[in-house]
Amino acid sequence: MNTSILDNKDFWAGIFLIVVGAGAVFIARNYTFGTALRMGPGYFPTVLGGLLTLAGIYLVASGLKSGEAIGGNWSLRALLLLPLSLLLFGYLIDRAGFVPAMLVLIFGSAMASTEFKFVEVLLFSIFLTALCAAVFVYALGLPYPLIVGL
């Protein structure tokens, strides 16, 4: 199979595991390893990280052999917009209040859809924010200011 290395599923799966596993071993070198009798805080993570790295090496090898493609599409738009909307929500809810945080989150998430319609989403964001404010802040009494400084 002539899959490009960039689209090789198991190859990247293996790389992912190696990064996580080797990273864990690297960080855990600062924790006492201990002995089998008295395991230190580093024992368990180091062993796990080592096993993950081994699994990663195996997958890289089998990926290079089989060449199975990842296929499908990376939904880059959603992959960027959804986490970004969450980050903004987290940033805004402490500083600006519940309402702006919700509006940004809902509107920002909705933009990730390819069927995004500006007016519909705007109205929907306002409706849902009002609904959530009514349910969570008024009815359930969560202690969040609707708008900071108001």
Binding site: K9, A55, G72, A78, L79, I93, E115
Partner: protein, 498 residues
């Protein structure tokens, strides 16, 4: 009979107004998300976990369980009516169920699915009541080595039996165990992998991982391949199956229940495997296998019973041993922990109201589903018209509020975003994420029991092989590995998956 006393006690708990109400909420929400493709019980339960903080433990568990088995019902409704499996467990039901609907027999198909599920649910309830207490009393005698071996067996079985590549599943278990190690080490107080972030010193929040991976990651993935929506035009006229339908369905329902119960207690096997197995067997034992795929009622009755029995019996290892056999059960364990209840065999003796109340509520919930759902089918199907482009931002909003409400911590929101990305990347690379959650839940317990065992034995690992019960688990673990990794079985797994 003690079991009847226990069940009656359970019903007295489950029949309280509050618990009935939470049961009703649970099965209604479950049916709703079962009908809607793109959001499953895992994501929903994860999102709703924070709400359960303020609810008494019994009611919380009853509601979450209701979502879980309610989703199975909802999933089969859309499978039959619009050939759209709301849940993976209903994929098989599409084959013959949708054909029946096209022949104008949607009513009987729905009714048989409901009756089969109800029967299987009843048997499942009885099985838990029968096998729960003896299992728990054995488990109460477990020491650290036994627990470690049991968890090892559970994790290996979960990884090996899960769909997809075995190495990748095992890797996800390991990754989950590693995530479980984040935070303060209980024995020494050392901060591990907390990168100086004070929010991480108690470990990564269970809800953060669950919502990130199963709600956010799933949405990103759904937006990547938008599925087309079919327009619903089937009319459900007469609901009642004919005498012939009943006669044909009894065998498949009984066999399906047995198959589902068997797969149910095995870790790692989702309800999809049980329903597949049931469908294959029904096709094998049928006089005229060619009817299958053209609207054979056996092809609905068997798999639908199997997936419900499976769903119900998944509770046995969770409630008696504290061992989650699936992603949803890991969430249930998480819910118990959030409520301050240490999962394990002692739950049955320390919180009998919880154990027996939950069991009884499952039977009541199944009854509610039959009684409430059949007349409401039209309403559920209408819900399919809610466009996903509005549904997913709402899910995002509920997820964010849910997580933030736990600790009022922005950092946990940021972490959820991170886990959403990690979850999506893992999905794209062919990793199955349920084993990750199992590893994450069991990680701290497993490390604790490993360290304690080694202290007890003076650093000699043979302790796992000299204690007879532990040895049995170890042999079982080895057997699972040998059998499942054998190439022939691997090939067959490929066939089932494909």
């Amino acid at each position: 009979m003690e079991i009847f006393d226990n069940l009656i006690f359970g019903f007295s708990v489950a029949l309280s107004v509050q618990n009935l109400l939470y049961c009703l909420i649970g099965v209604t929400v479950g049916t709703l998300i079962g009908v809607l493709p793109g959001i499953g019980p895992l994501g929903t339960i994860a999102i709703l976990l924070p709400i359960t903080y303020s609810v008494p433990p019994v009611a919380a568990l009853i509601m979450l369980a209701g979502i879980y088995y309610g989703a199975q019902y909802g999933g089969s409704t859309t499978a039959i009516l619009v050939n759209l499996p709301g849940e993976t467990s209903a994929v098989v039901t599409c084959i013959d169920g949708y054909q029946m609907a096209r022949q104008g027999r949607a009513g009987p198909a729905l009714a048989i699915a409901a009756i089969g599920s109800f029967f299987a649910g009843t048997v499942g309830t009885l099985l838990i009541a029968l096998f729960g207490p003896p299992l728990a009393s054995i488990a109460l005698k477990f020491g650290s080595p036994e627990y470690f071996s049991l968890m090892l067996m559970g994790l290996v079985a979960a990884a090996v039996l899960a769909q997809g590549d075995i190495v990748k599943s095992i890797a996800m278990v390991l990754f989950g165990l590693l995530l479980g190690a984040v935070g303060t080490d209980v024995n020494t107080g050392v901060q591990r992998f907390s990168f100086g972030i004070s929010e991480l010193s108690d470990g990564i929040g269970f809800i953060v991982v669950a919502v990130g991976v199963f709600a956010i990651g799933e949405i990103i993935s759904n937006l990547g391949d938008p599925e087309e929506r079919r327009i619903f035009d089937t009319k459900v006229t007469h609901l009642f199956p004919t005498k012939d339908d009943f006669k044909r369905s009894i065998g498949p329902i009984l066999r399906g229940t047995g198959i589902g119960a068997f797969f149910g207690v095995l870790p790692g096997t989702g309800p999809a495997i049980a329903s597949f197995a049931s469908y294959m067997i029904e096709k094998k034992v049928a006089d005229d296998p060619s009817r299958f795929g053209r609207g054979a009622i056996e092809g609905v009755a068997g798999p639908e019973s199997a997936n419900n029995a499976d769903a119900q019996c998944k509770f046995i290892p969770m409630l008696t041993l504290g061992l989650p056999a699936s992603g949803v059960m890991a969430l249930m364990l998480g819910a118990l922990t959030i409520q301050g209840i240490q999962p394990g065999p002692q739950v049955m003796t320390m919180r009998p109201d919880l154990f027996w109340g939950l069991i009884a509520s499952m039977w009541i919930g199944n009854l509610m589903l039959v009684v409430l759902n059949l007349p409401l089918i039209g309403l559920w199907v209408k819900l399919l018209q809610v466009p996903y482009r509005l549904l997913f931002p709402a899910i995002m909003a509920f997820s964010a509020i849910g997580i933030y409400s736990v600790n009022n911590s922005s950092v946990e929101i940021y972490l959820t975003a991170l886990f959403g990305v990690v979850g999506y990347i893992c999905m794209r690379l062919g990793f199955n994420l349920a084993p990750l959650l199992l590893g994450f839940v069991l990680g701290p317990l497993m490390e604790e029991n490993l360290r304690r065992s080694m202290l007890m034995s003076g650093g000699d690992p043979s302790v796992f092989f000299t204690h007879p019960i532990s040895l049995a688990f170890m042999i079982a673990t080895a057997a699972i590995l040998v059998v499942m990794v054998a190439p022939a079985v691997r090939r067959r797994r490929g066939d089932i998956a494909g």
